[in-house]
Symmetry: C2
Subunit: 298 residues, 2 copies
């Protein structure tokens, strides 16, 4: 088998991994070279900086997931429409260098008359399915733009984006609520966080629920140090409110960063929803599995 | 009757009016001296700049509504708890100068275990009730923080704040959506606006619905020039979604600025809800009616 290299190339960062023949990561690197930092025509040079040494000899195969496949990226990999399985994505790779560097397409779906999109998360979901031995379920990928992904019989049926992380940042930094909140990042106050989750679900509208962060401060009903956790609970609770979690027969799989995943797990458990987790290895496993599929096809 | 002066003293602006004996405004002034611009101890001087000439001779009575009664204002006028009628507010005025300058208290209420507050809108609601001959109904005051106010038998029973205008500004200026939206303020695109209203209601969660402004642009399904109106429809639709408008037997009364009120009227009519309006005169009528009440009590 050829040496396999995986890249997770997002908007603001670039991670690269070299795999051994069993799919284990033997080397991993991180560069502050998200696609927004790459000038036109500059993608091959940044790729070489990241993993040119691993590609030497011409035998290696590199697979790239994430925003590198967007219109502002290296080579546009058109969105693959849902429902889409692993094989559909493998058949729609965009080759930056034929036979050598392939870009994984993102997915699109349509609901309520408007499209939704993701790039990179599809690879994480397929990787998590491999790691956990799943072929169906509900997956959440917390982030600036969280994704909720429904999988059945090995195919991604559809998904929804929630701008949760971005709304939190806007409210935290730029809104009137920022005046009541302390600077800096403190530890999570689990009690305030859970109160926020419950309040958002009870109220059912973040435009109204968010104002409670101001009035609780105004009436000295919550210490300032607890308000960021409360606000985080409000936005995550608002996201969870739309998920029909009561109808689930299987645990929700949280695929996320060490910073965010524990908050989602805390919120889901507080609502009585069973949870399982897959970490940052999900991307690597997804890319490696896709490379193996290509090798078998070749 | 003594000469009556009314002030609408908010966070970012100050308006003053002089009334005749029938409550008509004979002079009106506007100053860029919201309470945030007033240094500690500076309120009497700004008041004199605004209407000192109208107060000369010592006979006039001035009534002040708005954030001038907040903790950061001239004299704190503690919130009056709902349900509260016109008489409850008149009995709880805070006197900046005894017998001469009174500040109208704001209102507070409690729901879902958290407080809500307003300052200034209570005066607009009582003024609109006088102007329209109402003693009950549902009132909306669009703005940075919109208020929905329920009135029964002449008393404000309760209300809810929605951070609609603020969320719009955050998304318009600071979010990823800002990249797809044109600079500047164009005319309202009524069709895009109504589509936004309907989409927000259909989706039922702004964290998800807001992302459609990005994907509609990404797939060239909506021209960039229409996106600000669409986004405005999304946030206003999200606000209206929580109002149980189907159960109303009377029109909703919109009390608002010429900039915002027409959008709310358009959205409500698109949802089949009857609407009536009261304009910026509502504050003046409310203040004048309160002054008359005081004169009768004296």
């Amino acid at each position: 088998m050829r040496p396999i290299v995986g890249l997770d190339w997002g908007t603001s960062s670039l991670r690269a991994a070299l795999f051994d023949a069993q799919g284990r990561v033997t080397q991993e690197r991180s560069l502050p070279r998200g696609i927004l930092t790459v000038p036109p025509g500059g993608f091959p040079a940044v790729f070489n900086d990241a993993c040119g040494d691993w590609m030497r000899g011409g035998k290696a195969l590199a697979l790239v997931a994430g925003m590198a496949g967007s219109r502002q990226g290296w080579v546009e990999a058109p969105y693959c429409a849902c429902p889409a399985g692993f094989g559909d994505i493998a058949a729609r790779l965009a080759w930056a260098e034929p036979g050598r560097i392939a870009i994984v397409p993102g997915l699109s779906c349509e609901a309520e008359g408007v499209p939704d999109v993701m790039r990179g998360e599809e690879t994480q979901v397929f990787g998590a399915m491999q790691l956990l031995g799943l072929d169906s379920g509900l997956f959440v990928l917390p982030g600036t733009h969280s994704k909720w992904v429904r999988v059945a019989a090995g195919r991604i049926e559809g998904f929804e984006t929630f701008m949760t992380g971005e709304f939190y940042g806007l409210l935290r930094q730029h809104s009137i609520l920022a005046r009541s909140l302390p600077d800096g990042v403190g530890d999570t106050d689990a009690q305030a966080f859970e109160r926020g989750v419950q309040h958002a679900i009870q109220v059912g509208n973040l435009l109204h629920a968010a104002f409670s962060a101001r009035t609780l401060a105004l009436f000295d009903r919550m210490p300032a140090a607890a308000l960021p956790s409360y606000l985080s609970g409000l936005v995550i609770g608002e996201e969870l409110r739309s998920q029909h979690l009561g109808a689930l027969s299987e645990p929700v799989t949280v695929i996320g960063s060490p910073a965010l995943a524990p908050r989602y797990e805390l919120a889901l458990r507080a609502l009585g929803v069973p949870v399982q987790s897959a970490g940052s290895q999900a991307t690597w496993r997804g890319l490696w599995a896709m490379a193996r599929t290509l090798e078998h096809l070749a």
